[in-house]
């Protein structure tokens, strides 16, 4: 397969197309999924500091408790919330629920995600 062929396969699915709700859902789901996988691997690496005992870990906490990292936490939690709710949407569709209103379901997922993410942000940043 040519380099161009690989590039096409890698990017074709995210070419902005008709702005169907389902397409946004698909692309957001994939992006959030990949971001969360990357975070998961990073998280594993960071957790290795637990073996360094109390000292090493509590040092790290100072860093993670800082404002920028907490904002990052909010973004991650938002990604998790969207990915999860969209997963529920996909499962419902597969079970034949709401197939006539797949766009509306995406709207519900978006609104619910935003609400939950706002709640989480308040909890993490201000509570």
């Amino acid at each position: 397969m040519t380099r161009a062929g690989v590039r096409r396969r890698a990017t074709a699915w995210m070419t902005p197309r008709w702005r169907d709700p389902g397409w946004y859902a698909f692309v957001l789901n994939r992006f959030t999924g990949l971001i969360l996988v990357a975070y998961l691997l990073a998280h594993f690496v960071v957790l290795s500091r637990l073996t360094a005992g109390s000292e090493g870990w509590n040092d790290l906490l100072g860093l993670f408790g800082s404002r920028p990292f907490l904002v990052g936490d909010v973004l991650l939690v938002s990604a998790v919330i969207f990915h999860g709710l969209n997963g529920v949407r996909v499962i419902l569709l597969t079970l034949g629920r709401g197939t006539r209103r797949s766009g509306l379901m995406f709207g519900v997922v978006l609104v619910a995600s935003a609400a939950l993410a706002a709640l989480a942000a308040w909890g993490i940043l201000f509570a």
Binding site: R9, A10, G33, L40, L50, T51, L61, G87
Partner: protein, 148 residues
């Protein structure tokens, strides 16, 4: 009504299978039966782990950010938390489900990306290995923390 109906009593349409020389499905590319049943199972497992993650990850995040004053836990709090049997089960459950779900998710992206079954098989193998290593690492880490 008078007279016999002029309409045919059964459908005129026959499936193309009724024509000579036709083999149903001959034109549809397909993979072997084991791969087929795997594709369906993987979808199911991904959905199931997804649902479990809502529970486990929810617990994890709430415990992480909202149980302790000021959000994040210091080392002792982490150890104390893990010593609680419910927390331990939840965290180990999270470990397994998140790894399985992530591995299946990455593989699904690669199905779109990789040409041919061979490349996909190789990628699946690598993903499986990374998942296994992560799992062993996670369990090992938990034991070390609890033991220490």
């Amino acid at each position: 009504m008078s007279g016999p109906s002029l309409r045919p009593r059964r459908f005129a349409g026959r499936p193309p299978g009724a024509l000579p020389g036709y083999v149903p499905g001959a034109d549809i590319p397909t993979d072997d039966q084991r791969a087929s049943s795997r594709a369906g199972s993987m979808w199911l497992v991904k959905a199931a782990t997804g649902v479990l993650l809502v529970v486990f990850l929810g617990t994890h995040l709430v415990a992480q950010h909202f149980l302790v004053e000021g959000g994040l836990r210091d080392y002792d709090a982490v150890v104390a938390y893990l010593r609680h049997p419910v927390a331990l089960v939840a965290e180990l459950g999270l470990l397994v489900t998140v790894i399985v779900h992530a591995a299946l998710g990455v593989r699904a992206v690669l199905v779109d990306l990789l040409p041919g079954e061979r490349a996909l098989r190789r990628a699946t193998w690598i993903i499986g290995m990374v998942a296994m290593v992560s799992l062993v690492y996670g369990i090992g880490l938990t034991l070390v923390v609890l033991g220490g």
